[in-house]
Subunit: 342 residues, 2 copies
């Protein structure tokens, strides 16, 4: 593996360097050719570095800044007034070619807005999309996009998302001809709104994409398809609903299992098993949403990710960088557009 440099927004997320710095050190331990540029408050960062072995320090560079994007900053505000923030400087390192990818657990809206302005979208892509993996019954990941970068999408945008999702699944999961579907309120061709129906028409005539039609919400977790496309309004609500129902089930299991002595005893013995199953539903287990369609790699971690979860986001960014995801998406899109116009 060639040398790889990742830019980390060390101050982003609920816990900042307390989580991001130890996660970076963990990553350095397992990847001998990995380097980090940690962007943020030098004093803060060093506090969490000194606690670790010094063997890896030569692969860490610090870019000092004290400005941070707050979790509740409006994207437009962050864009205008946080030009020296750790988030922005990390993205600029990618733009300048000093880092091959950026990882941040900071404000999602600000990260999306800044990424689009600083890195720009690929030719032929109107808007970047936020994409993540869901855990399916089959154990295979299912890629869902968009997760909230775009609250309204026309058919062309949905089509672009389908292409990007397909390439991402091929690149990261190394699956040939991933099955791509549009999320809809029914599987029949006449179902849904105009955007979804039109996007379906375009995809049906795109030979290079393995488009399999519409799927309904209950197919999100069956693993029947590999990539599911929807607008960001639907995607965000779908993902949050899933988190909500998982929490409800945990609650109901706990309540349902606590009454009666024998049952209480059994519950205690079996609780770790149930917790283990439910932890697989924990979004932090599948941490790292990719912002794709840009001329650079940006991975968004959950704001409240712990060290292990943030490490997953780092690993995802490293994999995307190794596989040169933006170039792959660009090549595929060019080839598809040539195909359509020929």
């Amino acid at each position: 593996m060639k040398n790889l440099t990742l830019a980390l927004d060390a101050m982003g997320g609920d816990h900042g360097p307390y989580i991001t710095v130890p996660a970076a050190v963990q990553a350095l331990k397992s990847h001998p050719n990995l380097h980090f540029i940690l962007v943020g408050d030098k004093t803060e960062i060093n506090r969490y570095l000194s606690a670790h072995t010094e063997d890896f320090l030569h692969r860490i560079e610090i870019v000092h800044t004290t400005e941070v994007v707050a979790m509740n900053d409006r994207p437009i505000h962050a864009l205008r007034f946080k030009k020296n923030s750790s988030m922005r400087l990390a993205l600029e390192l990618v733009k300048d070619g000093r880092a091959q990818a950026c990882v941040s657990a900071g404000n999602t809206g600000a990260l999306m807005a800044m990424s689009k302005v600083i890195l720009k979208t690929l030719p032929g892509i109107d808007r970047p999309a936020l994409v993540s993996c869901l855990p399916a019954v089959t154990g295979e990941p299912v890629y869902l996009l968009d997760l909230g970068a775009n609250v309204a999408c026309d058919s062309e945008t949905l089509f672009q998302f389908a292409v990007m999702g397909s390439v991402l699944c091929e690149a990261i999961h190394q699956k040939a001809h991933p099955k791509v579907a549009l999320l809809n309120v029914g599987i029949e061709e006449n179902k849904g709104n105009g955007q979804v129906q039109e996007a379906g028409q375009i995809l049906q005539h795109t030979d290079q994409i393995n488009y399999v039609g519409f799927v309904e919400g209950d197919e999100l977790y069956t693993g029947k398809v590999d990539v599911i496309v929807c607008d960001g309004f639907v995607g965000n609500i779908t993902l949050k609903t899933s988190e909500g129902i998982a929490k409800l089930l945990v609650h109901q299991l706990k309540t349902g299992l606590k009454d009666g002595f024998v049952v209480r005893l059994l519950s205690k013995l079996i609780a770790p098993r149930i917790q283990n199953v439910l932890s697989k539903m924990n979004p932090d287990h599948y941490n790292g949403a990719s912002l794709i369609g840009l001329r650079g790699i940006v991975v968004k971690s959950h704001g409240n990710a712990d060290e292990a979860a943030f490490l997953q986001a780092i690993n995802l960014a490293a994999t995307e960088a190794k596989r040169r995801l933006p170039e792959m998406i660009n090549d595929r899109l060019e080839s598809i557009l040539l195909d359509i116009n020929s």
Copy 2:
């Protein structure tokens, strides 16, 4: 209780009279003033009637027809060519005042289209909405609408849904000043698409509705609010996603709990408890979606509802009829519109 007559689409659903007729007989047993008009194939209906006690036969009338709306009939096809279908005749009984409500487990799209054409919407209501209850952590029901009657909604329609949902919650759940929220991708005022933001503005200025703002998908099952409003595209996918994730959890629990002797033994002992908890998540347990905003009462049962679930749909229709739901919605809407215009 005054006499109450319900019109049943006896042929609707996956099982037709095999389920609908015994459920009707069950309802007659517990409601002495209830009457049924069963619409469908007389021979088929009588087959399932004869098996039951004859004590209730004087409260059952049969309207014979052999035409049925198929589960895969397109709404427009059903509307044009199924004028003697059990579904349509049942709705016409409500229109003619011979029944106070209609219950059907048939094709949802056809039922919505026919209801709108035959019963018409209330003054001030552009489109009927499909609404159902979700089971929340608190044990209180949460009303979610629209569930798929309208794939695209403007702000005015979302506002009307909010009013109807609020009145429904008051009428059926007898809760004063139910908390009403709009489903969105964030809770801040600037979040979401234009329709949702505008609807929020209108609702903020509507004193008679206890509007509490936006909620995200993970609040669907917390019980923090009583009524959640969204368009039918989002509502349908949200509901189906919930079903999907519940199925995934059952699958993962079963897989996770089956290995190891002690664990297997414990699982066997505790399995009924877990099943009991999960059955509460079963949509059939919360069976019966109301089609509201019409000049008559229509309750839609799941197509694959069993006898107990179909009985729930019947009970819901009876409650709505007793409380005169369409008149309540009409009165409230009139009062709100007067308020706004004054």
